[in-house]
């Protein structure tokens, strides 16, 4: 139960990562590798601030700002230096590795005896529920984990709503167009370079915040923790799209799908491990899940055509 609970919590934390990847991958059509670096950067900065006694909320927000800076740098490399988007991301990610080591002073920063969101959750849990542990059905779980779960769920849902509202403003709509059709955007008065930088700053800001929450959930920051997170983000986005039936549902549905994808993905991994998956095969399992999510819509279309089903059901896939 504890495994599934923490998988749920991680699902929401990585939901922020997935939303960030959604912005860079679906709105700007860029596979942004900066993410591997910015999640660690956000987490590392947060950890260092917490160790130095800063309040958890401020430290978490600082992690977000760190991500924004990393994203903005990638954007500037692309727009001002003309560097290919994939390479720009790789450059920043690589550079950030050293930056993070300098920031932390060593490769791992534990958060023992440091006031984090976990401790705040403990306080709230005691105040709300009065007990350190709570029984749910046949399981006994630490009540602070329930509170943390609600906190992460609330944060990621609020962020998703905020993103939706933002992309429905004039600025957000312009950003979407500049990512979808640059030439059109320019012909209708948008400085696409500025929007690219802003968009990547936004995307990586979300990722940095995810990193900040992650280090508080797991109790330490590690220089290697970001490696491979772009794949987790992409997996969440893609699985989410497969669940909601392809990319045709509009903005709101796509954002929901991204969050759902992240949670589902974490649950699938947790179930696989519970079912005896060798932890060494974790990456293989991840790749397999993404593969299935990518191929699933096409298989459904193919089956539909093969059996000539008629009906007013939306066909998945782009």
């Amino acid at each position: 139960m504890s495994l599934l609970l923490s998988a749920l919590s991680l699902g929401f934390i990585f939901g922020l990562l997935a939303l960030g990847v959604f912005v860079s991958f679906r709105i700007f059509a860029i596979p942004d590798i900066t993410v591997d670096g910015s999640i660690t950067f956000g987490g590392a900065l947060c950890a260092v601030l917490l160790v130095n006694g800063w309040p958890p909320l401020v430290a978490t927000l600082a992690g977000g700002v760190a991500g924004c800076l990393a994203g903005a740098l990638t954007g500037l490399l692309q727009t001002r230096c003309g560097i290919n988007s994939l390479l720009a991301g790789i450059l920043v990610m690589t550079g950030l590795y050293s930056v993070n080591l300098h920031l932390m002073g060593r490769s791992n920063v534990p958060l023992l005896d440091v006031r984090t969101i976990a401790d705040q959750s403990q306080t709230v849990a005691m105040w709300l529920l009065g007990r350190e542990e709570i029984a749910i059905g046949v399981w006994v779980v630490p009540s602070r984990e329930i509170v943390m779960l609600f906190a992460f769920a609330l944060i990621s849902c609020l962020v998703a709503v905020a993103l939706y509202l933002f992309f429905r403003t004039d600025l957000g709509t312009a950003m979407r167009v500049s990512g979808n059709n640059e030439e059109m955007a320019r012909a209708l008065g948008v400085n696409v370079k500025t929007y690219r930088v802003l968009g990547l700053a936004l995307a990586n800001g979300l990722v940095g915040a995810a990193g900040a929450l992650w280090v508080q959930a797991q109790g330490f920051a590690d220089a290697q923790m970001g490696i491979g997170t772009i794949v987790i983000g992409l997996a969440s986005v893609i699985i989410g799209e497969a669940i909601i039936g392809g990319g045709r549902g509009g903005l709101g549905l796509a954002l929901c799908g991204t969050l759902i994808g992240s949670i589902l993905f974490r649950q699938l991994i947790a179930l696989a491990i519970r079912g005896g998956l060798d932890p060494n095969d974790l990456k293989l399992a991840t790749a397999t899940f993404v593969f299935i999510a990518l191929v699933f819509p096409r298989v459904v279309s193919w089956l539909r055509e093969k059996y000539a089903l008629r009906g007013r059901v939306a066909v998945p896939g782009r």
């Binding site: 933002f166 429905r168 004039d170 312009a174 167009v177 059709n181 008065g189």
Partner: protein, 270 residues
Amino acid sequence: MLKLQSIRKTFHAGTANEVRALRGISFTLEPGTFLMVLGGNGSGKSTLLNAIAGTFPVDEGRITIAGRDVTRWPEHRRARHIGRVFQNPFTGTAPSMSIYENFAFAAKRGKFRGLRWALGRSLRTELRDRVAELKMGLEDRLENAIGSLSGGQRQALTLLMATWIKPDLLLLDEHTAALDPKSADQVIQLTDTLVSREKLTTLMVTHAMGQAVQLGSRIIMMHQGNILHDFDGEEKRRLTIPDLLQRFDDIRRRELLDAPAAQMLAEQYV
């Protein structure tokens, strides 16, 4: 409304691929004029349009739109005064967004884009009415992604978007060239309606001489980066397609004569 003074543009200067696309173009366009730009391949007509729009900076000369010197302005800044329709139907619309969202974006051309809600009710009502005028059945599909529409429909929408906010200058770059005859006809009709109703200053590049004769109040014929003929007013009204064909033939013949004639002269006198 538009004034060009000695515009020159050379691509790949100094290399083997050097192309002197515009060799000193000058003309003035009065407000409300519908100018057709004709010319063979490589004459520089699309380059002229792109130079006015700001897709690239010109090497020499001055461009003035609505009294403002825009020569040094980047493309997106000039867009405040310009509405454009491209040759490629895919260039003018954002495929993964709905018709409604596309227009919400276009309705802010030249205006500050802040954090106001983009999809207001007044926009929706006006959009419905204007799209219904197109008679393409699109008014019921405003929430659909534009990517699912045909080329003709997309060009019609692009034209509507370009003129949603009345532009000082409308630039049409062979916007029916990639369409089937029926769609091309619909788009030309729409162009005629919109331009005459709003009295838009328009610059249209075209290959089709029929369009040049039918629409427009003035014709410019280009050849190798220069303006060879400029037909205005009464002279333009009396022009027919055979007249234009005759002019093109003259140019061709002159070109054929020029090269061997120059060689002959060089042999005789050098």
